[in-house]
């Protein structure tokens, strides 16, 4: 088991290195000159040259990358061009709202998605199943930004019971959580349903029934533990999608999180912040995927066995 964990962590290194190159290249494709943006049209050529030197923009791209990489490894993500604060500090400042949003939404999605999927599978080919499927497809198809605005219209403007934006009190998190969870709920429900339909046809379930175990015990002990394996994978795979949703949800509800920071930074061509922010998201995603792989290994004895033997 330890070897498995170790292997997974080692595997993370080249991926993150690759991500850092990818992000660096994309950001440096930008046609605009950050020095010009910063100083405005009235800047003299000398001012521009000085600032470029100060920001390291006059060096070759490869050299810039290695400077960036060594600094990043030391925990120095550079300084924001706009505010001159350390990028890492800005990211950590904005981390809490994003984290809260992600945790609440994932919890809600799991709590709503799994029962929905189980219900659909238990009532396969009835109107309940059809309805659950349609609800799941609908949740999968609704644009998050639109759903957010419509909830805002309903609960902040027409029946003003919830605050429309901001971050600080729990009431302000209700609508963003629902918006962000909708899509993931749908994905989890669909996965649970198809996984469940597969598991209930397995021999061991028939054996359990033949032994005369009661239905609830079979459902909990024999079916659910196996249904959850693919569901966990899908949760991990979908987490990246959710991070994209975080950006949009934070913009709609004016939540001062990392996603909002990235969008604002793009508008100001504040590329150290954009770079750091995306790297930060990629890092979070990789960590979550690592966690999912480990949970997966715990749930699925086959993986454990593979590593014990070899």
């Amino acid at each position: 088991m330890l070897r498995y964990i170790f292997k997974r962590i080692v595997f993370l290194v080249p991926v993150l290195l690759g991500v850092s190159i990818l992000i660096f290249v994309i950001i440096h494709l930008a046609p605009g000159d950050p020095a010009e943006t910063l100083l405005g049209p009235s800047a003299t050529a000398q001012d521009l040259a000085e600032l470029r030197e100060q920001l390291g923009l006059d060096k070759s791209l490869v050299l810039q990358y290695f400077t960036f990489l060594t600094n990043t490894l030391k925990g120095d993500f550079g300084r924001s061009i706009r505010t001159n604060n350390s990028v890492l500090e800005e990211l950590l400042d904005r981390f809490e709202p994003s984290l809260m949003l992600a945790i609440f939404s994932m919890t809600l999605a799991v709590a709503a998605g799994i029962p929905l999927g189980v219900l659909a599978a238990l009532r396969q080919n009835t109107w309940v199943d059809t309805l659950c499927n349609f609800v799941a497809l609908l949740g999968f198809s609704l644009p998050g930004f639109w759903l957010g605005l419509m909830l805002m219209l309903l609960f902040s403007i027409m029946v003003p019971i919830l605050p429309s934006s901001g971050y600080g009190e729990w009431k302000q998190l209700i609508m963003p959580t629902v918006v962000l969870a909708t899509n993931t709920t749908a994905v989890i429900a669909r996965m649970t349903r198809s996984s469940m339909l597969e598991v209930v046809r397995q021999d061991y379930v028939r054996t359990a029934k033949a032994k005369g175990l009661n239905g609830r015990l079979i459902l909990l002990r024999h079916i659910m533990s196996n249904v959850l394996i693919p569901v966990v994978t899908v949760v991990g795979l979908h987490f990246g999608h959710m991070l994209g949703g975080v950006v949009i949800t934070e913009t709609v509800f004016s939540i001062p999180g990392v996603g909002r920071l990235i969008i604002d930074a793009i508008r100001f061509q504040d590329y150290p912040v954009v770079q750091g922010g995306i790297l930060f998201f990629a890092f979070c995603l990789s960590l979550v995927n690592l966690g999912v792989d480990l949970i997966y290994a715990l749930l699925d004895p086959r993986i454990k066995a593979q590593y014990r033997a070899g």
Binding site: P14, L138, I263, I278
Partner: protein, 292 residues
């Protein structure tokens, strides 16, 4: 002889399509989805004849007016007719959706076929590259690309398309791997077919079913991403009528003119839902083994 061989081939292909259609027809949802998609495509194609006003004609009516007979979906803050803008918006959304999926499917399909067919080191390198692409959340990758290249139609399509490459690469690679060792590939090689010919004629047709399904669902997610980026101000710029940017404009007038945010979002939801339902049905029809 060649004529006869072609005739057999054609006949078989037709009966295959017929078979798929027969299975698809049973699924009422999928048929309904297909109808909606066809209607919307027609709406996009015939926009100039269907739209009552020009999409950018200012002061076509009073500003921020609610629905009326003259303006069924109301007017926006410039007095533009919203129905006309929604109709013209279908052009942009479908265009972006299809081109982006085209970019993703062609690049991803090519990569997948090559690495799956050759295997070995090239497979390793390219799949690690796909892992890297997958390690960055899709929407955020698209945001970064548009943010760097600048917000316009072409960059939007590139951004959404590139972020979709990995999924096609994986599907095609898996299929290519599974048929690589089979006898008909060996036979093709024995008669001296080039690698390119084997990939195009023998490998790709075997992955068509999953590619078609994934593309249908891909158009849905591309339309969603494109609208989201435009909503964030990182896609299609005003005054071009695009659903996402219409939403972001309407957002400022939510209190007095909620119709400006309601309709563009509703139509995005309808398009995406139809594509998803149709894609689901198509998957069942193309691969009856998956049907439960």
């Amino acid at each position: 002889m060649p004529v006869k061989k072609d005739a057999v081939k054609k006949d078989r292909r037709q009966s295959q399509i017929g078979e798929i259609w027969r299975r698809l027809r049973v699924n009422k949802g999928a048929v309904a989805g297909l109808c909606v998609i066809l209607l919307l495509t027609a709406m996009a194609v015939f926009a100039p004849w269907l739209a009552p006003y020009g999409p950018n004609k200012m002061n076509a009516g009073p500003r921020l007016a609610a629905s009326s007979l003259k303006h069924p979906l109301g007017t926006d803050s410039f007095g533009r007719d919203q129905l006309s803008r929604v109709i013209y918006g279908a052009r942009i959304s479908l265009y972006v959706g299809f081109i982006a999926v085209g970019i993703g499917a062609v690049c991803g399909g090519f990569i997948g076929a090559v690495v799956g067919y050759y295997g070995g080191r090239i497979d390793n390198i390219l799949m690690r590259l796909m892992d890297v692409l997958l390690a960055v959340p899709q929407t955020i990758l698209a945001i970064a690309i548009v943010g760097a290249l600048g917000a316009n139609l072409v960059n939007l399509m590139i951004a959404v398309g590139v972020s979709q490459i990995p999924r096609y690469a994986r599907i095609v690679r898996a299929s290519a791997l599974s048929v690589r060792g089979q006898e008909f590939i060996e036979a093709a090689r024995a008669i001296g077919a080039s690698d390119l010919r084997i990939i195009v004629e023998n490998i790709l047709p075997n992955c068509m079913a999953p590619i078609i399904v994934q593309s249908t669902l891909g158009v849905a997610s591309a339309i969603l991403s494109a609208a989201a980026l435009s909503f964030l101000g990182l896609g299609i710029q005003p005054p071009t009528p695009e659903w996402g940017s219409m939403l972001s404009l309407g957002r400022q007038y939510m209190r007095n003119a909620p119709h400006l945010t309601f309709y563009p979002g509703l139509i995005i939801a309808v398009v995406v839902l139809s594509l998803n339902i149709f894609g689901d049905g198509l998957r069942d029809a193309l691969d009856p083994r998956l049907r439960q």
